[in-house]
Amino acid sequence: MTERTPSRGWRAALSSAADWIEKPIEALIRACGWSSIVLVAAIFCFVFWYAAPLLPHIDWFGTDGFFTSTHWHAKEREGATYGVLAMIVGNFAVALVAMVIAIPCGLAAAVYISEFAGPRSKEWFKVGIEILAAIPSIVWGFIAITMIGPLLIKYAGATMGTNLLNGGIVLGLMSIPLIVSLAEDSLRAVPDSFREAAMALGANRWEIVYRVLFPAARSGLLAACMLGVGRAIGETMAVLLATGNKNQIPTSLTDPITTLTATIASEMGDAEAGSPHSQSLFTIGLLLLVITCAINLTANLVIRGNKRASSN
């Protein structure tokens, strides 16, 4: 820009001064944005690095294969086998039970809080949900052992109190606050004009919920459920305590099971650094990372697909 008049020059000077301040800030913000991606990549590399030496020696799909057998004898010096099938099945089974409990309860609670509760009780419910979310996972483990376990022995005919059902209940309870708060956010984001439109047509409150709010908030509700699943799959401490930690494929709800996460947590302490045992645990970690990333990516795609469908 040429400086023809003094006032022009002034403005140019001012705007370049603004540039001096803005540019670094912009760069910083951009760096923060990128750092999340870099961090994910770094975690992948890190886990991969510690698992890598063992990977060429693992039998993936054989009779003692990683994905195809339940033979987990990772500690043996000779003839170790690394079958994690039971843990994968256990992980998904316990997450499934958890979601069967958490999704209906979570959505119902979210609907109640956002549409039916009065303004005063709404606040109380929210505080309650936040406290529930803040309970440490190990405390949930205690609850599983001391309260839920005995109840299952008494009423569900379980021989062991810690089992698949117990883990599912605890994980469900733990996922509910997350689902409730995300679902409640997305219900609250539905414009009031939609509610009034339906009301003016004579719809009652229930019809408004399932014929207006659910379609309108669909992607947000879906995201809430997906993130609930993610939480249930990644959770460790409570599951370790609640499921009985037994390496077997469950045939009933009251069978003790184990999961990928619980196995890592319970064996990492004994595994010598750099040993094949430790490397095998990192291999499980790698698998977990892939699974959770896949769930989050699908959730994102589903939500984006929905957004696109609704915006054009």
Binding site: S193, F194, A197, M199, A200, G202, A203, R211, P215, A216
Partner: protein, 256 residues
Amino acid sequence: MQDGVSIDIRDYSLWYGKFQALLGVSAQIKRGIITSLIGPSGCGKTTLLRSFNRINERYGNVTTQGHITILGKNILDSDVSVAALRKRVGMVFQRPNPLPISIYENVVFGMKSHLPQAERPRAVLDQAVESALREVSLWDALKDGLDRRATELTLEQQQKLCIARLLPLKPDIILMDEPCSALDASGIERIEELITELKRTFTIVMVTHNMAQARRASDECIFMLMGEIIEHTPTLDMFMNPQNSKTAAYIEGRYG
């Protein structure tokens, strides 16, 4: 109640918490014509209009007193079914608010609420959709995309759809709160034409800020000020020969 009166309001007061928004108003709104509610901002037009289908009640702090008789029944009585009331008294809002579902589902939304499953087979619904959309002259434009989302339409189409979705319920009264305020000039013109068209079948009560619109489109006008009805006369009389000095002042633009 004399014949030809559609909405009979007697000493009707409404409070939002401690604030009294309507101060014992009375009026008889005639059947089969368009009545405009005019007055400066905050005078209670919307509040009065939203009393006729009791949608005001969704704010928990509303209390009322007096009578509003529609079709021979005081709608403020506690035994009145609001769902049935809202079937007879439809409402069009200031901002077009089609539901975020398909065009088809928007039009049949009311039917699905009010009729049992057996009385609304697919053919009946299809027929209702077609005649409702024809009535608002949207059918030709939309007939090939009835499963598109209603929120994707232009604002003018959305507002027409919001009118169309009332029609399958065969209401007696249609309430409109500044139905054109979100539209451009040509949209306003076409909605006004449509409203005039609808007058043959329905009683219409319309809130408007636009003097010219009130004059063009309505048969009678109710002028409100600070929660009271100041004057209720045929539109021409109100604009040519206002009885009250406050009405005159408002019409001449002294209240804004």
